[in-house]
């Protein structure tokens, strides 16, 4: 049975006041149980797309939808259906891992969770038990990333948006992180990831969108990419050797 669209970008366009076109009629959708990777170099428009979904920017044209809700019309309602993790995950260093999780869970509308519920989520993301009640001050980036992922999980939102989630992580931590994403996909979450890591994108995603200079040049499914060299394809697209 065809899965519903959880995240949908309809001709998203963003032109700044200085005339810079950051996003040019970008359309795509992410279904439940799908991982969609937006692949592109710096300035391609990946983060702008995410900012439009989260209501941090208003589109010049087009509409971002989360679970069928128009973000431009009702951003607060739309954001109840999405969990987000940014590339900078410092969180609150004076709070313990559990306290950070508790705050963001309640912010996401989960008011009745108990200490053990938080511990379960932290176990799920692979954080060591002894770190549950430790302040984040002394955490490595990988450990903070795990707490960040726990925050996105605990909200139980149908959509998850991750902005460069594996940047700065060592290979082991990155692999653990991707393993958790697989689990979330299996739970039926629609996951949108922005990355410039071609290998991780191919490894994890069901669909890859190649972006350059604010345009979505191509959308390729896992099946289409099976026999393709994604790196070559990506370079061909951004160098204009292949027509979008």
């Amino acid at each position: 049975m065809d899965q519903p669209n959880i995240l949908e970008a309809q001709k998203l366009t963003k032109v700044y006041e200085d005339g810079l076109c950051a996003l040019d009629h970008v359309s795509f959708s992410v279904k439940a149980g799908e991982i969609f990777c937006l692949l592109g170099d710096n300035g391609a428009g990946k983060t702008t797309t995410i900012n439009l979904f989260l209501g941090f920017l208003n589109p010049t044209e087009g509409i971002p939808f989360i679970n069928g809700i128009d973000v431009t019309k009702d951003p607060l309602a739309a954001k109840q259906h999405v969990a987000y993790l940014s590339d900078v995950v410092m969180l609150y260093p004076n709070f313990t891992a559990r306290q950070n999780l508790d705050f963001f869970a309640r912010l996401g509308g989960k008011n009745n969770l108990k200490r053990e519920d938080y511990y379960n989520v932290l176990r799920q993301v692979g954080l060591q038990e002894k770190a549950f009640e430790q302040r984040l001050k002394g955490f490595s980036k990988g450990m903070r990333q795990k707490v960040g992922l726990a925050i996105t999980i605990v909200k139980e939102a149908p959509a998850i948006i991750l902005d460069e989630p594996t940047s700065g992580l060592d290979p082991k931590a990155a692999n653990e992180f991707l393993a958790i994403l697989h689990k979330l996909r299996a739970q039926g979450r629609a996951i949108l990831i922005s990355t410039h890591d071609i290998f991780r994108a191919k490894e994890i995603s069901d669909t890859v969108g190649i972006m350059s200079e604010g345009k979505l040049l191509a959308v390729k499914t896992k099946a289409e990419l099976e026999h393709e060299n994604l790196e070559k394809l990506y370079l061909d697209y951004i160098q204009g050797k292949v027509a979008a």
Partner: protein, 481 residues
């Protein structure tokens, strides 16, 4: 939602080392300054008791009211504990007597120049400097710091509005700043009780208002911190901007306003006034002596041919005439002194009005002026006491006149004190000082102090409202990315 943000903000502050250190230091300094204030007040109270008692003991040993060296002492007010203000700048007592100008002498700073150099560490000073700095330290990165750490985007990826967030943020930060102030004031109140300071209902009321002024002042800087943090995108920039604002508001504006007012409206110094009065006084007395000498020669010449029984009434008439002339001379000096001082105080109050109006653009000046009013140690303190002492002088000299202490005293300065002699007045038995009028300190009630401070407190409150609106509006336009 705002409650959740406020709770998070408060907890974040309470769990931070920065808070523990800053709150600990401010509480320690505040409590220590209250303790020092109490010790200082008790020492002053004891000094006051001794001074008054010594003066009464000396007076009771005299046999002529003319030889009594009376003085009026300023009774210490327990509220000096909180705001020392001009208390240490002005003299502790003034000599009272016919022919003596009311002049408060022997200030604490004149007795102890080291104290003048480093000033008094009272709670007002601690709050003025330390608490405002701590409020800035707590909030300089409240918004842009969250942006730098990525938590702002993480928070706003949830269904929370900017208005709810900023309200929660401000309330949480406010409670974090309120906590050390409240605890310090409670410990301070306990110290006041335990150390046996007799603070009446009015005093406690003023203590409460002092707390209110402190909270309003700290809130000003907290709101400024959030405002600047929401205006900038980097915490290093906001810290620098706030440091400049703090230096200007706390250190520059109050002093610059006083200097500007001094330039715009020059007022003669007290020394200049005193010098003019001394010359007038000396001239009037020389003229009086010359006139008296001239008249006495003429009188003695005319009495040479008198019979002995006729001389006594003539001498008595001469004495009456002399007394009238002396009174006329004294009145002349008093009138001249009153005129010159009235003019001085008028000029001074115009200058002060300008200086304070300029200084009041800074919340630090608003706070300082309000607390000085609450403590009764404002710039009007000297005049209040001098006016009360002038009234007392009239009362006392009338009493001495009635007691037969007429005549005039001649004070010969020996550099380290004075010797007093009398030209007239019959020798008597030891005087009874039980009915001698006592100096009563000028009335400075709860109503007077609070009414005086109300305008500055109102300005502080207004500043808070502006800073709140500014922080709120700026954050509503804040770019979350």
């Amino acid at each position: 939602m705002w409650k959740m943000i406020a709770e998070k903000e408060l907890r974040d502050h309470l769990q931070s080392t920065r808070f523990l250190v800053a709150a600990g230091v401010s509480m320690l300094l505040l409590v220590m300054s209250i303790w020092m204030g109490i010790t200082h007040y008790k020492a002053r109270a004891s000094q006051y008791e001794q001074g008054v008692q010594m003066m009464l003991d000396l007076a009771s040993q005299q046999s002529n009211w003319m030889t009594v060296t009376n003085s009026a002492w300023r009774k210490p007010d327990a509220m000096e504990i909180l705001s020392n203000g001009v208390n240490s700048d002005i003299g502790r007592y003034s000599d009272i007597g016919s022919g003596r100008d009311v002049r408060l002498v022997r200030s604490e700073y004149s007795d102890d120049p080291m104290l003048a150099a480093f000033q008094f560490l009272d709670p007002t000073f601690v709050i003025l400097i330390v608490l405002s700095l701590i409020a800035v330290l707590f909030t300089y990165n409240s918004i842009n710091g969250e942006k730098e750490s990525g938590t702002l985007k993480l928070v706003f990826a949830n269904g929370i509005s900017k208005a709810e967030y900023i309200i929660g943020k401000l309330i949480g930060s406010w409670f974090a700043i309120l906590a050390p102030v409240l605890i310090s004031f409670l410990i301070g109140a306990l110290l006041i009780i335990l150390m046996g300071v007799d603070l009446n209902g009015s005093g406690w009321g003023r203590y409460g208002f002092f707390f209110l002024a402190s909270v309003l002042y700290a809130t000003c800087f907290m709101l400024l911190g959030v405002f600047v943090s929401a205006m900038t995108h980097r915490s290093s920039v906001s810290f620098l901007v706030l440091l400049v604002i703090w230096i200007c508001a706390v250190l520059i504006v109050p002093k610059a306003a006083t200097m500007l007012a001094g330039r715009a409206m020059p007022v003669p110094t007290v020394d200049e006034i005193e010098s003019r009065l001394t010359s007038y006084n000396t001239q009037a007395r020389i003229e009086f002596f010359n006139d008296m000498t001239k008249r006495s020669r003429a009188r003695f010449k005319s009495m040479a041919d008198m019979k002995p029984e006729e001389r006594q009434p003539a001498i008595a008439a001469f004495q009456t005439e002399n007394e009238a002339k002396r009174k006329e001379m004294e009145q002349g000096i008093t009138d001249y002194s009153a005129r010159i001082y009235e003019d001085y105080y008028n000029q001074k109050s115009r200058q002060e009005l300008l200086a304070f109006s300029l200084a009041k653009i800074s919340p630090a000046s608003q706070f300082q002026l309000a607390t000085m009013k609450l403590g009764g140690t404002d710039v009007g303190m000297k005049k209040r006491y001098e006016d009360a002492m002038k009234q007392y002088k009239v009362q006392y000299t009338d009493y001495v006149q009635k007691k037969g202490g007429g005549g005039f005293q001649m004070r010969v300065s020996t550099g380290r004190g004075s010797t007093t002699g009398s030209m007239t007045g019959p020798p008597q038995q030891k005087i009874d000082i039980s009915e001698m009028p006592k100096f009563k300190d000028p009335d400075y009630s709860f109503g007077t102090s609070v009414t005086g401070a109300l305008f500055d407190l109102g300005l502080l409150a207004l500043f808070n409202v502006f800073a709140f609106v500014a922080a709120f509006v700026v954050f509503l336009r804040y770019d979350m990315r």
